[in-house]
Each structure stands twice: as structure tokens, then as C-alpha cells.
Symmetry: D2
Subunit: 482 residues, 4 copies
């Protein structure tokens, strides 16, 4: 049966042999670590919701590979409606956790590789597509979480991989034999490896002839030998280790990013989906990024919904909910939030079918979507800061609230309106602080800026896909210019 229960899922991601470090210390059973647990919860919910009747339309799909009913996160999109449902599902989940659920990158890479391996095979007679399909059938059937990673350290950004002082600054092949290849390098910003089962490793940018050793794409199991995994710091991460988790703001859910070093790791042939075909690397990056930029059109509005809700609740707690100017600011937040959603939907609505059979979003509009995501959440967050009040910067700790001596004083002086408990005010304020400058800021702002490519990446794709020459022709036609 393809659907894992949440319990089965939790069991399945334990990786006792993973070489994982946090704050300089080796972590043995990461699934018990208070800093890491919330990030597992964010993937776990994708298993929980798949069990619920009310979310079946969003969470499940019928596999085109096997005919089985599978979790949508492993689905190869079969229609425009699938692309739109992706956006709706992402918004719905983000509404429940207000952070990243970390299961999209692998899904997006899977859809990109399905169609791209088909194209490579067509040109070269290789068998990447079959390999990929075999792997993906397993993912679907076992309801596996796959994540993905592109970003190499990159060293001096003005230089190509081979020009770097240290060739390892881009992940590359250092050896190979009949059974596979050996790779060395690192991937930074690797999101969500711990709660996952497999990882796609992709190049970080387009490659040119001569850069064949850097032109590789493969998958590894998440507990791959030879990896050194270092847990990235996040704003306010250690609050999760304190006695009172309420200060975390969003204390149930989170996401993580890892710095992963590949110390001469062997990759067997069946796990490799691209190897040396330099001219396809740019398109792989583009296509994966395209799917992933679309994803932001779903998840970020979901996070935005919770921020707007918390902000509105906060104004209610303060007795100013009906003030016209306050209301006008809430309207602005909604307007901005829905503008992102519009972009996510629109690039889906203009989707098209690839030769391999699956559907892909519109490349121009998905980049427009993501470019808006590098701006709009910042402005929503700024308005949230405004309506939150200065107290998001000054509220005493929950330890103070729980203190026998200070608690009553805080409760007396933080009282606002009849029926509003100070503990609830604390929760809302801490959540808004979390979004503004805590763990939530990492996901809602930093990741919005850089995830799926920094804004400049979108600005490069936009003119390439917008057909400026056609626009020039339109002007010429209107003005009778030959």
C-alpha cells in the first residue's frame, strides 16, 4: 500500500549512521533533538493530511506509472489541473504550519528529470529515463520523501568551476569505473535531508563544453556513506531548547538547511540521471527551478494567510480591529498575498505537456512569480511589524510570565480587552516576532529571497522567455515601421 502512516514515516527516517553535526557536536539520534523535531513535523504533516478524507482531492493522485493512488508529492503532473492542484495543496499545508514543508524540491526535481531524461535519451540513446522511472516508481510506491539540492559553494563568483583555486568548490567527478562514479565537493543550503529518504543532487548552474566532470545529476539515499552533514544555524534556534517553547513563536513546525560535504562518494550507475551532457545542464537547472519557483506561489501565500490571521487577531486583542486605517493595512496585506497566489496559479494555468507526458508550468510566469516572492513577503512582514506594535521587540520571556513573582504583574499589565488572555497575547506576539526576525523569518523572507534561485536568477530567465523581439514587432506594426 503506497501511503505511509505518520508513524511508519517517523520510523522510516531514522538514520543512525548519518554523520551529522550541530554546534560542533555529533548528533546521534537527531529525531529526538528538540531543535530538529519541529522540522520533522513539517514533513510528517504531509503524511498526516494524506490520511484525511477532507484533503484527499488535494493530497492524493493516481500514478501514471503504476495506476496506484499515491501521495501527490510523488506525482508526475498529468494535466493543467494537476499543476493548479499542486498550488492549492501547497497553500493549504502552509496554512497549517506557517513554514516550509521541505518536500517540494524533490518533487519538482522529479518532474523536471522525468521529462529531461526523456529528451537526453532521445538525443543520445542513453537510458537515463528508464533509470529515473525505476527510481520514481519506488518513491511512489513506498511513499518516500525526496529532497533536492543544487547550490555549490561556488568560491569566486566571477569564475567558472575550472578556474577556481580549488576544483572542489563545485561538486564534480574525481573518479569513475564501470559501476559508477566517485564525486567530491559540497552542497550548501541543502533543505530537509534529515526527514527525507532520498536526495537529488544537481549542478548549480549551466555548464559548458569542457566542464563535463561538473555536469552530473544523481540521487543518493539520505543516509549515504561518505557525507559529512553540518546543521545550519537559524535565528533563535536555541529557543527550542529552552524550558518554555512558547518563546519560539511557531513551536511545532520548522525547517532546516544543511551544509553537506561529499568526501569521495561512490554513486552507482543506476542512480545517475545525467553525466557529461553539458548542453542539458542549463535546462535541468532551469526546469527544476521553474517547477520550484511555481511552488513558492503556493506555499508562501499559505504562510501569508497565517501572518494576516495573526495580525488581525492581534488587532482584535488590542481593541482596534475596526479602525479604518488598521483595516486598510490588513486589506493591503491580503492584496499582496493574493498577488503571489495569482502568479502561482497563472503559471500553472498556462502549463503545457512535455513529450515524456508530464505537464510543466509556463516558464516566464513562474519566474515572475518567484521574483514577486523576493519582494512581497518583505512588505507583508513590514506591515505585520507595524500592526504588531513595538511589543514584538520588548516582550519579556515566557519564563517571566510563568514566574510566580512576575507572572501576576505581567498578566495585570498586559491585559487588554474582556476575554483576551495574556497567554494568548503572548502566543500571537511571539508568532509575529518569529515571522519578523525569528525562525519564521528564515523561511518567510530569507528563503523567499534565495530559495529556488536569488532574484537575479529570475531576472536572467525573464528576458529570455518574454520574447522581446515580438514586442518590438508589435510596436512596429502599430506604427507602420518596416
Amino acid at each position: 500500500m503506497p501511503l505511509k502512516t505518520p508513524e511508519e514515516y517517523l520510523e522510516s527516517i531514522k538514520k543512525p549512521n548519518l554523520e551529522l553535526y550541530l554546534f560542533g557536536e555529533k548528533i546521534k539520534e537527531f529525531w529526538k533533538h528538540p531543535i530538529i523535531i519541529p522540522t520533522i513535523n513539517s514533513v510528517k504533516i504531509t503524511y498526516e493530511l494524506a490520511q484525511k478524507e477532507e484533503y484527499k482531492d488535494l493530497m492524493l493522485a493516481k500514478s501514471n506509472l503504476t495506476g496506484e493512488i499515491i501521495n501527490r508529492f510523488a506525482h508526475l503532473h498529468q494535466s493543467i489541473d494537476d499543476l493548479i492542484t499542486k498550488i492549492k495543496m501547497q497553500r493549504m499545508i502552509a496554512q497549517k504550519i506557517a513554514t516550509c514543508f521541505q518536500r517540494c524540491a524533490g518533487w519538482d526535481a522529479g518532474n523536471a528529470l522525468y521529462s529531461l531524461t526523456y529528451q537526453i535519451d532521445k538525443k543520445y540513446g542513453s537510458n537515463y529515463h528508464e533509470r529515473f522511472v525505476n527510481f520514481w516508481k519506488k518513491v511512489q510506491h513506498e511513499d518516500l520523501t525526496v529532497v533536492g539540492s543544487l547550490t555549490d559553494p561556488k568560491g569566486d563568483r566571477s569564475k567558472r568551476p575550472l578556474q577556481q583555486k580549488d576544483p572542489d568548490l563545485f561538486l564534480h567527478i574525481v573518479d569513475e569505473n564501470d559501476d559508477g562514479i566517485v564525486v567530491r565537493g559540497a552542497k550548501i543550503h541543502l533543505t530537509g535531508l534529515l526527514p527525507s529518504h532520498h536526495v537529488f543532487i544537481m549542478p548549480t548552474l549551466s555548464m559548458r563544453p569542457g566542464e563535463e566532470k561538473y555536469s552530473i545529476c544523481f540521487q543518493i539515499p539520505s543516509d549515504q556513506k561518505g557525507l559529512t552533514v553540518i546543521y545550519g544555524r537559524q535565528s533563535c534556534d536555541t529557543r527550542k531548547m529552552e524550558d518554555y517553547k512558547l518563546d519560539v513563536g511557531n513551536y511545532k513546525y520548522g525547517a532546516h538547511e544543511l551544509f553537506v560535504i561529499f568526501d569521495d562518494v561512490f554513486i552507482p550507475n543506476e542512480n545517475i540521471f545525467l553525466n557529461g551532457e553539458t548542453e542539458f545542464v542549463g535546462e535541468l537547472v532551469n526546469r527544476f527551478a521553474g517547477y520550484h519557483r511555481q511552488s513558492y506561489g503556493g506555499c508562501k501565500p499559505g504562510v501569508g494567510d497565517v501572518i494576516i490571521g495573526a495580525t488581525a487577531l492581534n488587532t482584535r486583542y488590542n481593541g482596534i480591529e475596526k479602525n479604518a486605517i488598521v483595516r486598510n493595512k490588513i486589506v493591503e496585506m491580503i492584496h499582496l498575498n493574493e498577488t503571489i497566489y495569482c502568479c502561482g496559479l497563472a503559471c500553472s494555468a498556462l502549463g503545457f505537456q512535455r513529450e515524456a507526458g508530464n505537464y510543466e508550468m509556463d516558464m516566464l510566469l513562474t519566474n515572475v512569480c518567484k521574483l514577486n516572492v523576493t519582494r512581497i513577503p518583505y512588505e507583508i512582514s513590514r506591515i505585520a511589524d507595524d500592526l504588531a506594535g513595538g511589543i514584538i521587540c520588548t516582550l519579556p520571556s515566557t519564563a517571566d510570565l510563568k514566574s510566580e513573582k512576575l507572572g501576576p504583574l505581567l498578566k495585570k499589565y498586559l491585559f487588554t480587552c474582556e476575554g483576551v488572555s495574556v497567554e494568548n497575547r503572548y502566543k500571537v506576539i511571539r508568532f509575529l516576532e518569529n515571522i519578523s526576525m525569528g525562525l519564521g523569518a528564515v523561511s518567510y523572507k530569507g528563503e523567499s529571497m534565495h530559495g529556488a534561485g536569488s532574484p537575479q536568477a529570475q531576472r536572467i530567465v525573464i528576458p529570455r522567455t518574454a520574447n522581446i523581439e515580438k514586442k518590438i514587432q508589435l510596436a512596429k506594426d502599430l506604427l507602420d515601421i518596416k
Copy 2:
């Protein structure tokens, strides 16, 4: 045969008896007037394109009323795909004329009335829906252009219709008998009546009990007796009457707005679609505005395309096309323009079916679409001004260019790069001037701001349709607040 040829269309809109004034003078044969001709061209092109093979998918549709193949501008949307095709068609046409084609308002009102009259009849047992269907079959079969109008003069905006010093400041019934009603009042901002065959007249805002006489909706033929029609001034309108039309910028296409006074006009019953059902007026305004706000998500990006094209062409003429900073600004224009398009597509993609059978866009997202339209074209236009150069403010007249003495001097000193003719530079500069502050500004900025409702109208609908309570609940659920 339902499709009129352009020639048949031109013949069909002559209205020799219309009481039309321009600059204080009565205009007899408006279809020969140089100020008015370009505005007729903008409707005519909707007939021309319908004849072309390449645009069939966009321009034609199969009537659900008669099964005939009709011009899409008379179509009752039968699917989400129809809603999306609407947006694509609007963009395509606007790309050819860079202004308003004036045929959407009636189409949008038609779709709104089709479903709303069904609802009114259901409640009251009236026969508005049948009346409407009869009228609309004629529109489809004869390929008629219908326009629509809401805006009353409104007098003191802080008062209701009956509180106004002059009751006529909102159009209302002054008499009625078994055959129909007599109305008095005025509609200002009436777009495109001259090149049309019929006009829908709708109330300008929600009505309350007691305001039954103001709660009316009906259609009239465009040459209705009893109307006094005054042509509205537009920036640079008289350039169209000069010897050298090139100074107009967009000299082939335009749009107009009229101030129309109803001096006790009789409306027969069969033309009336709402009469006194106050509680449906708000929804009529909303639904029509909803469809029409969606329309802006199609046409404005089309205009934007030509502006971007002309701007890019201008930078090519000046030899700075490849400059990174210049290019970056073009990318920004595209990004902004496509953001509008995304909104137009998205509210269509979330469309739904009304009980009457036709499809309607998502009400929240169409308002988000329009609110963006009140901002984005202004910023696109600002960047266009930037890249146009100061010459859009200083270029001598075309009469100078054509002058025997001055022409050679201007040609010598306005030369830029090999292969660029000064006349073509003139065309592009004049077009960019037109958009910035000429006739094009009326359509691209003023109409973007106020057409289909000023921004405040959208800001009122957005919170009503965004379900803020649900968002509050999401925050409560996440934070365990009961």
C-alpha cells in the same frame, strides 16, 4: 450568418439621428470625424480579427444559446477555459491597438446579467432572464457590439441618492406604465457608445430599501431617442485634426468616453432586466465589475507589451539596447506587466459555474487583479519615461519635420545609428509621449485607475471575499488558541 464583416459593421453603426456634441457643436456624421474615427477602428478590429483563420480559437466560440459560431465578445462563458481564453484574446487585441477596444463592458455585463436575472427570477418569479436571453440571442446572431455604463454623476458623494439636492443626480424612474418606464438622469464616463449597437444601463452602487426607483437595469439601442450625448475631451485630442497625424502617437486607434443625459427616456418592458429589486443591485454592480476587473488582466498587459516593445526599440535606435542597466529596466517592465497578466489568468483559473450555467471568475482574485492595475501601469509608464529620454517632452512637431527648411536640419541632428530613420524615431517617440501624457495616458493610466471601479471599490470587496475569520482561525489552530 452571425459574423459581420468589418464593412457590414461600419455600415451598421451609423446613427444619423443621435444628438451628439463635440466642442459645443452638433456632430452629424460622427463616423467621418477625425477625432472619432480611431475609436471606431478599435471596435472594428474585433470584427476583422474574427475573420482571420489564425485567431479563430481566440475570437470565436460556440453559442450555448443557439449552437452558432459567434464572435467571442458575445459569448456566455461555458468553462474555465472560456474565461482564460477571454484573457488571452484581450491581450492579443490590445497588442495590436495599444488602447481600449471598448467591447468588453457589454460582454461583461451580459455574463453578469445572464446569471443574475436567473437568480432574481428564481426568487420573484419574474421573467428577466427570458427577456435577457432573447436580447442576447439577437446580439449573438447579429454580431452586435454592446457597451455598458454605470457611473451616475453622484453629486455629493457623502449622501445617498434621495438625499441629493437634485434627485436626478442618480438616474431613476420618473414615470411608468404597463409598457415600460421613463427614466431621467445622466451617465458620465460612458465608454464607446458611438461604435456600438446597444448599451446596458446599470446602477452605480448598491441600493437600499426605499431606493427602488434607482434600482433599475435595462438596455437601450445606441441611437436611443431622448439622449443628449456630449463627447468627453481627452489629452491631445485635437492632434487628430492636424495635417500630420504622426504627432498623435497612436494615430490609428483610440477610445472615447461620453457624458450622456437621459431626458425622460422611455424604456419598454422587454428591455428591462431589473426593476426595484434593491437587494440584487449590489450584486449586479459587483458581478459586472468582477467580470470587468478580470478584463483588465487581459487588455492592459497587451498595451504593456507594445509599450515595452516601443521602449526596447527606442533603446535600440539610441544604441543602448545591450547596456546592463537599460536591460534591467526592461526586465522590470516585463515583470510588472506579466504580474497583471498573472492576476487576470488566476481569477479565471479559479472560475466557477453559476446556476444559470455560465462561468464566473473568482471574485477575490479579480479585485486583486484590478487593484494591481491601479498601480502597475503607472510604474511601467514611469520606467518608459525614463528610457524614452527627455525628447518625449521636447520633440518639435511633425510639421517641422515635414517642412522643407527644417526637415533636413532635424534629420541631420536626430540621426542616431546606421539604418535608423528619423521618421521612425519620431513615430516611437510620439507613441511613448502618447502613453505618457497623450491619448494613450487616458486609456493606460486614467482608465486603469478608475475603469471598472476606482481602487477604493476593490479595497471594499477584498476583505469581504478574503475570509479573514478563516485566517484568524488558522493562526489560532497553529498556536493552540481556543
Copy 3:
């Protein structure tokens, strides 16, 4: 006596021999032409106000050259207070005319040349400074209006002057003898020559060794022989020739720009202030532009004041003056407008004394000022459009209002509140139209964008003057980075 009366001024600017063209026709007595008169009024008011007791502090100053009390427009700034008074005076005048008064460019060039000629002489032992002082004493003593011009046609913007196909695309020396030089070329965007007495001609950009023939600065009388002057078109220019000037919006004041061709014009030595010293050209452009960018910090907020006032008046006429949302938009307009003013004041407050003795604004902040001017007026204008209502795009002509038949209808239907005359509504609406897309748009938007240098010009100066290395050092110091 140094101060001219308005009547003396008017007499003094008649230039019967000027070779002036408008719409392809030669204009003989331009001071009687309805299109040109408002632009003369804008300079004339600088003479009128200088006569008024209440404006003495702003309008007059004591010459450092002669000790005479002179019109401030000829003053060489002697203190920071003078720089600040400049800004205050400019705002005050713009508040009265809502457009450009055209007398700053010459003033700004005068201050730049006073200090720069001093520096050139110091290096080369030339006598430019003495020449300049002699000329400027005359300007002060005779209360002359001087304008200035930089912009050459520039041809292919990616090429230097000598690389152009036609060497005349930048104005340059074609001959010289002991008495002076002969120049050929053109200046486009020449503001306000007609109502002036003299014109400074400056290079359009920095020059390099080898470009000595292009490195020239001189003054000419405004009726210089050998000029061909073509009047630039402006949006809605011909409304000034109609029967009812009310449709112009701002019917009393205006500004103009000219396309001026120099057909081998002889410039005597005493009029030349720079000739071949290539390394000083960039600084001349910069310094003049610096003073002129400061000027925008004074005049544009003055125009903004009238726009805000007209907008507020319009909301009063419509009965919505006290609405919280409307009010909030007015506050935003004020906020934006005062932000420009702050920049104008700030670059003055940080002024410093040049070796020649006169004061100069801060170069970084004046560029920040101007860069804000390329954005903020556009947003103010957008909000003005919003609050103006759709009627700025649709109002019938004044000829209609004055018509016996239509006038009463328009008066009936445009009535709003007790005590508001429809004629006054017309005035306010036409003024707002003028700013949005008529003659006012040329001055308030186009000129804000490109006058004193397009935005990119400011973006080039800003990093050069902002001392980024010092900022890097601050970061290093804070973080103990060596």
C-alpha cells in the same frame, strides 16, 4: 537700478530677428503668441515678486561683486543660508505658478562657472574667471535672465563624439581665430530661451584628451545670429489657442523647450569660459548639474503643494474631504512631497565654500534629491489621479460648458455640494488633468525625470561621492576585520 519692473522686462525680451519656428511656420513676434505667452509669464513673475515687500527676503540678495541689491536669480551664494533661501524661494514661486519658471539653469550655471573658472585659471593662468565676472556683473546690474543648455543630440549613445558618423552630433568648434571661435551643432531640450536675455552653452558630458574641440563653454545673447530655433511640442499645447483657455488647466503659466541649431556661429573670446581644458569638462557638467539638481528640491515641492491643494479642494467639492481613507491619501501626498523638500534643504545645509568664495551644495545629497525627484512626483501624481476621479479623463470641453444648449445640462448634472460652482469644479478637474497628462505633466513628470540629468546620471555620481570604502572600513572596524 538693478531691478527691472515686469514691464521693463517684457520690453527687454523682444527679439524680432530670432529665427524661430513653431509647427513648421516662422514666428515673428513670439511674445504675442498664445502658446508662448504663458511661458513668458513664468519668468515675468520672478520680476513681479522681486518688487513685493513681503518677498524681499526670498527674492533679493546683496551682490558680492558690486554690493548692489539684486534679484536673487543672479546671486552668487555667499553662505549656507543663501543655499537654503534658494530652496525656499523656488518653492514659493512654484506654489504660485505650478510649473517651471525657467530662470534657474542660468543661475545654477553661473554659480558653477564662477568657482570653476577660478580653478581653471589657477591651473592654466587663463582669464576665464575675469571674463565670467564681467559678464555676470552685467547680468546682476541689468537684472537679466540667463538660461543654460547642455544636451547635444548625441547620435549613437554607445559612441564618443568623434566616433559618430556625423561629427556635428555634438556641438564643437569648426573654426577659430584670434577673436574667437566658430561652433556647429545643436542643443536640444533648451529650456526658456525666448523669455531670456542670454544662454550658457555647456558640453553634454565629460570629455577626454583628444576631444578638445568638443570641450567648450560660452554664453550667447538670446537673439544670437546663426541660430535656428524650433519650438518643441508639448502635450495639449494647442488648447492654448482655443477659444476657452480653461481647458488648458494651468492657463496662465507654462514653460517651453527648444531645439536649437548652431549653424557656424561665431563666439567672441570674451564670451568663452572654457576652451579645450578637457579635464575640467566633467566637473563643469557635474557642478552645474549639482546646483540644478538642488533646484528641483525647491521647485517640485512647490508644484506638489498646488497639486495637493487642488486634490484636497476636489475632495471637498465632492463631499468626501473628511473620509479617513481619503485623508490618508492626502497625508501620503504631503509626506512624499516634503521628502523631496527635505532633500533640497539637506544638500543646502551641508553646503561648503569654494576657493572662489561662493557656496556649493553637497554633491552626494543633491544627487539623492534629484533621484527622488525622478520617482516621487510620479507617485504623487498617481494618487492625485486616484482622488481626482475618472472625470479627468472624460469631462466635456469648456466649449460645451459655455454652450447655450449644453451648459445648463452640464451644470445640472455636475452639481455636487451646496456652494460649489460647476465652473470651479471644471477648473480644478482641468488642472488635475493638466498635471496628469497635459502641459503640467511635461514639467512635473517628464522634466522631473530628465531635467538636470536622467536618473542614471545621478546613479553614476552617487557611488563616486558616497565613499563606499569608508563604509567598508566601518564594517571592518565593528567586526574586527583587518
Copy 4:
């Protein structure tokens, strides 16, 4: 001698009896607490710089009360130049610490009270001014740091103090006798009490007749008996307690805010500067806020300078310093940052003298300044996030970098360009993280939004001080409207 050495200062602020709590625990010697030390450093630097020759002009001033040379932070402004020097000094200090130095609020309140007590005395014959001068002489002579506080808890924001369920939600008099008053209530957001010597306590908003008990202003020593002081949490506060402080980002400087409860505190008469004169409360709030909003025009650009410097340094470290698009973003940051500075300077340049003798900034422009501060730092920070790269969200801890095993790996893979040490990269990235979402965000964004009054407070003052009626009159005059 009026100037304390840094050592004397440190000694002088020890307050062994202060009832201070942090994380629910009582703190005895706060001056040794790692979370608190950086916040003391930020005040201490104001003493250090005052000792340095190179900063004398900025840091010192001559007292108008005693003729002594004093630290400028205790100076009553005697000229416009003093107001401008204030801004320059604030920028200079902030450039060194990149956070709040916490010594302005008391200074700003001092200047407000000096002139306001004079006015109250003039009306009522009271002796507040003398009391204040006596206190302030001591402040000047002993070189004391004074802070200030307004914000009451405020309870239900839609209600007045007396309507609250608990009358203590606004601080008020609960008893009084001949020697003084007894007050109860709380002040939240109290900045910098620990490193200070005295605190001004002011009402939080305008008061009305009947609210006399809430209309009080007084000073207390910082170790006042009867206070319960709770230290406010800040993003990433506990990083300061970790082994490796580098993860703090800005590890040397900080600021704090406190929640302070007044449990029936006795205030002797000589410390009281307003008591029951309700009509002066609004002006006290306004005047203090006015001075304090001006302050933001100095300090925030100073912080901005360090952010820009760190961002530029980061791009240098990554090898992309010269990229045109990168450079363009740096220019934008500078432009925005200097726009704030312009506002700070401008409201100073238009300063005026109060009857008491000291100078005050322009009220309209200081509010414009602060309103810009509620927006611009957010956008600067957004661009900083962009240029920082995703690594501000993912960088492993400094403990990892220092780890024997992981350190070499991180150094290998975080290498960028010749001469760039990975430790320095860490420093810059951590600083940028700090500004984006750590301790720096509290000061650079949260405080910019709410310090000296939330944006709505400025939007209320702006229309009151902008003379909208005069603007309307300008429009009427131009358009001949009577």
C-alpha cells in the same frame, strides 16, 4: 569636571539594589551579564568618543546654563547649527556601533521639557522650569545619562485611561501629599535604563480634562525603589551567552528594552515637571517625539552605513563587487539611506528658537523623517538580504568552524577569493544575519517602526502641521477661484 571617563561612567551605573529580572531570574550584578554588557558598551562609547580630540566638535558643546564644556548629549540646543550637529554626531556614533546608543531619549525629553516647563510656568506661575533647570545642571555637570519613557500598556486601545477595566493600565497618581506624589502603573518599551543614571517618565498620549491624575511628568533615578524591572527578550539574545560570540553578529554593541512596573512609587516634588496641566500633555508628547523623530534621521543612516559597508564587503569577498547589477543595488541602498539623512538634516535646518531660548526642529519635517524611517530601513535590509546570499540563513555555527574536525572542511568549502579569510566571511555574514533577523533587526527595523511613535502617530501630526488650507488657497489663487 563635567566629562566622565569611560571608567568613571562604568563605575557610576552600578545599581546593586535594582529589582531586575531576566528569564524569570533575579539579576544581581547586571553589569557583568553577557546579555547586558553589549548594551552598556553602546552608552559607554558616548563617553569614550567625548574624550577624543577628533570628535570634539561633534561630541562636546558649551552649556548655556553654566558655560561649562559638556557632553553634547546633555546640551540644550542653542542654534540651528546645534540641531544639525546633533544629526551628524548621531550618524557618526551609529557608524561605530550599528545599533542604538540609548542616550537620545533623555536628551530629547530634556530639550522638550526645558521649553515646555517655561510655557507652563508662564501660564500658571508654577516653578517647573526652575526645577527642571536644577536637575539638568546636575545632568550636565556630572555627565549623566538620562533615558526617557512614554509607553503605557494601554489595555484596550479603543478606550481612554479612565474607561479601562484596570485604571493602572496607564500610569497615574494614586496618592499625594505636600512633599510629592505616589504613582502606580507600568512603562513598557523602556529603553536603556540599566546603563543610565536617570529616567524621564512621560504620559503616553494627549490627555483631556478629567484625566489630571494621568497627566504627570517626572524624573527618577535609575535605581529608584519600588520598581520591578523585567528585561525584554530579543531575537537571538542567548547567542551572547554561547562560547563563541561571533554568532551574535554584532557582538560588541547592543541595546535593551525593559518592562518596568511602578508599584506605588513616591516622587518628590522637585522631580515633577508637569502635574495635572492636561492641556500641555499633548504638546509634551509631540515635542519630545518631535525631537526624537529627528534623532532617527541621524542614527539610522549611521547603522545603514555599516550595513552598506558590510554588504559591499560581502560582494567583494564573493568576487562580484564590480558587477553592474550588484553595483546598482548598492547605489540604491545608499540612495535610500541618504534620503533618511536628508530628512534628519532638513528638519534641523528649519529649526526655530523657543521662548525659553533653546532650538527646536521643524515639526512637519521631523515627522516626515520618522515616517520614512518606518519604511526605508526595511527596504535597505531587503536589498542587503538579496546581496548577502542564501548563506545568511544556512551558515553552520561558529562552534562548527572552531571544531577540529569540521573547521578545515568549512574553511575549504567556504573559500572564495585570494586573500579572503573564511573567518572574516563568517563575521560579515553573521553581521548581515544580525541585521536581517537577529539582534540588529530589533534595533534597525522594529525600533525604526515603533520607536518615537508608530507610523500612524506621524500620519496624525503631518496633516496638522502641513497647512492644507494654505495649499488649497494656492490652487484657488492659481485658478482664479474665489
